[in-house]
Symmetry: C2
Subunit: 533 residues, 2 copies
């Protein structure tokens, strides 16, 4: 694997001088990203590209090139592999499509290259993927042109069963100030697969957070073992869960669906964070790029009272506590509150402080407190007149996070361009709203405390035993007209509660059912039908 | 209300020449936004601002100015109101804070102005808010400087109990290509309240979608009636649901918490869409700005196979059907698929079509089909080399939506600046990922079909009566060590299922519990603990 991600010499096969030739992009990417090993091009017709000669005879190439990258029709891959083996090339990247994802003939070709690889101890990436990037050494092998300015180096590594999603996660990672380390588009993963890549990234120094996008999981046991052995945070986005998607997933990467419940069970076993959307994926990655949230105590600081209210709601829902302000704390900051029309509490409404620079003092005082494990800082600013002060604030937040080793989720509201400009000048993630910031702090807390954050009922009820009958249960069972109806979750919980069992609070359940995703699954009127009457 | 939003003359009270004077911003906003009525300024010291004289004697002003806007200390408001009444000014906007949200003395002042208003038939906005904007006539009264370039005219109107959230929703509405009609920051709503504003917006021609941010609901019955009478889509973001937020909400806008379950019940009665985050709020608003999704039949078109898989999963979760492609359809498009390495299905993977302009032909063919109610179009593009083609595509999508009166959710992946540039050239919303697009289509379908989309169990079980005991229930009840533990939802459902009741499917429950918001409430390991074993 080391030779695949850190080769000293590369052969690109499939290059021509034709303007539509896709393999040219591989060469151009290597040049643009500053990869500095020995580069050889190979094609059907002699020529040059970017000053490199295009060879047509294997004999003209040196032996033992460390990595061959192939983008030629599928049918020609087996013989090319064989030629490479003869030249003592045992590491390959096969980007071509047209294998098992496409047809029976393609499947036979794939079996052939698998067997060939096994026989000759070849390890290869692909086929049918956009392949790999090592952002820290300039190895950029996808067959579409990419820009080093847009793909900034960082700590997020992604293993993806889809090239499109690999690109999406690169884009999100860079946009969200994480930057990327290694990107792997596995394609049909007929030789190297998620287990191999995961084991490699687990020991990769540049990788801080690992993201996985999978459409199929073939090696359950080995995969779970690899996940368990990995000490870095792993985020799993597993799709291909519906009959509708299975048709296209099969065509896309030859993926066979796995029972979704098995995936959840695997995640549970391995301590992996499963997500169901791009937004959640990147939010978890942001969470893990900040210092860990090591407890329940949160301080909410907000320029707008409304954002303070929303943040406090989200904090309560996530089970955080907002410790009150000490008299000393209040005494130190109260002089800054001009007209004294705001009460000093946690959440702290800064609406009356016009000096943005003073926010830093308050933030530092908060971080110094032993009873504050992390801070949500909501800041609304005018795009032009308050840009400079906001940038100073953001830079101070970055240094305070490092100094105190506690997470601060900076939530910025302004024009999209003003927020982007602030982000370009700092290296910490920015959050778009309090709910998202609290999601990040919650998942960070879970990882750091390795805790199962069960829903705590508002008022735990004593167990009274089965003899305490449930009126709703009786009613339901005896009413013939209800027999073909679905029991709503709140009714289910009522019955259990009537039997004296301790269940999640109705409020928390109701909130659950009106979450964005839930709304999607059931539609709003159903949500309303589920709420308590 | 008409005189408040469409006054022909305005008096701004509290203006001075001092550089930190906030009331100046009100005047400057009116000038910048092009309000063209008669404008009078009033203050303690004579002077001028932006060429307008600052009056110091009420006697110098004409009678019957249609609207007085006040930004002076709370203690001076009652006497100012009285002076205005003497000048036959009966419509007022009170932006000052320091009333019931702050102290007992402030509360007494608020009672005083309420009584004064009642006695003299005065209607006023506020106090303690950033007040109102009518984007279509230049009436821009907030006391912070705002830019007409950033607040584009459109169809979203917002009634907010927080100025900060009003600004946030203005920003989101404009960023997401909706534009704004009327913005109302109600403040303490001690005279005009959400019922009055809602009734006004229900008949306002420029308002297409109404968003409400509330921290308290005082007039339950009248509010529900107003919601029921409103024929436009209404989105409700109700916060202040936790003990933690109630402290700050009380200080922020004198809001008293309402039982959250009452809010849900109210939504259910009135056909309102309740949301719990900014992202969900604006996504619903985007959904309602597209033509309605009138059925279950969806076509997914995607440049990346991975995005097609993710979109198909989300479509299935939302209960959409993906009708297969007809032979005629396949025959017409297959010639465009170059190397023929992709199967033609719905979802349709366009990965092999390099001519982006041809996407338009496929989209139009899809929209022409009677068995397609809407389309999700996922497009990944290179920020520079494919920008022009993508812009042409987006413009065609806009015209095809109008021509066919069906929703197309265009999901764009590229650099943030490239996507922003595309958005700036068109007037339809853009979506950031398939899950969000499907949420929008789902809520649109619900509104158009007025349908309660109940969760359908995968395999309905026959009711077998109470005699069929639940092993898990027995186990739980008899195990003393479990008595202080919370029953997980899946366990609750198992017990009910063991008793023969029909419950939501495990898969749909599990998906629910791993939704982004759910993850926030419980943390990932709990999610894992909840999944089926």
């Amino acid at each position: 694997m080391e030779k695949i991600f850190n080769p000293t010499s590369i052969l690109v096969v499939g290059v021509s001088e034709h303007p539509n030739n896709l393999a040219q992009n591989i060469v151009a990417n290597l040049v643009d990203f500053g990869w500095d090993g020995d580069l050889y091009l190979f094609g059907k017709q002699a020529g040059t590209y970017l000053g490199y000669p295009i060879h047509t005879e294997m004999g003209a190439l040196p032996d033992s090139i460390e990595l061959a990258v192939m983008l030629i029709p599928a049918a020609s891959i087996p013989s090319l592999m064989y030629s490479c083996i003869e030249k003592k090339i045992f590491r390959m990247v096969i980007e071509s499509g047209g294998f098992s994802e496409f047809s029976a003939a393609g499947q036979a070709l794939e079996e052939e290259i698998k067997a060939l690889a096994e026989k000759h101890k070849v390890r290869f990436v692909g086929p049918n993927g956009i392949s790999i990037i090592n952002r820290h050494n300039g190895l950029c092998l996808p067959f579409m042109r990419l820009s080093p300015a847009e793909i900034v180096p960082g700590g997020l590594s992604v293993i993806s069963q889809s090239g499109g999603l690999a690109l999406t996660y690169i884009g999100l990672g860079c946009r969200e100030n994480l930057g990327v380390a290694k990107i792997i588009s596995m394609g049909n993963k007929s030789n190297l697969d998620e287990v191999d890549y995961l084991n490699f990234l687990a020991d990769d120094e540049e990788t801080k957070v690992i993201g996985l996008y999978l459409e199929s999981m073939d090696k359950g046991r080995a995969f779970i073992d690899a996940l368990k052995n990995c000490k870095k945070p792993v985020i799993l986005h597993k799709s291909n869960t519906s009959p509708q998607s299975q048709v296209i997933a099969q065509s896309h990467t030859a993926a066979l669906a796995v029972d979704d419940e098995v995936v959840d069970a695997a995640c549970r076993q391995a301590g992996v964070f499963r997500v169901h959307s791009f937004g959640q994926f990147i939010n978890y990655a942001k969470a893990f790029s900040l210092p860990a949230m090591r407890g329940d105590n949160l301080m909410v600081i907000s320029r707008s009272g409304g954002h303070a209210v929303v943040a406090a709601d989200a904090a309560a829902d996530a089970g955080f506590k907002l410790p009150g302000l000490s008299e000393d704390f209040i005494a130190r900051i109260s002089s800054q509150f001009r007209a004294s029309v705001i009460k000093l509490t946690n959440p702290l409404d800064l609406g009356d402080i016009f000096d943005i620079d003073y926010y830093v003092t308050i933030l530092e005082m908060a971080l110094e407190r032993d009873d504050v494990d992390g801070v949500v800082l909501n800041h609304v600013f005018q795009a032009e007149s308050e840009f400079a002060a906001t940038l100073r604030l953001a830079q101070k937040v970055e240094s305070l996070i490092a100094r105190h080793n506690k997470p601060v989720t900076l939530v910025l509201f302004s024009s999209i361009s003003a927020v982007s400009q602030v982000m370009a000048e700092i290296s910490i993630p920015i959050f778009s709203e309090p709910l998202i910031a609290l999601e990040a702090l919650s998942v960070s807390r879970e990882r750091s405390l390795n805790r199962s954050a069960a829903v705590i009922p508002d008022t735990p009820l004593p167990l009274v035993g089965k003899s305490a009958a449930s009126p709703l249960f009786d009613e339901w069972l005896q009413d013939a007209s209800r027999r073909d109806k679905t029991l709503f979750a709140d009714q289910a919980l009522t019955i259990l509660q009537e039997y004296g069992l301790s269940v999640p609070s109705r409020t928390s359940m109701i909130r659950t059912f009106v979450s964005p995703s839930r709304a999607m699954f059931t539609g709003g009127s159903h949500l309303r039908a589920m709420s308590w009457t």
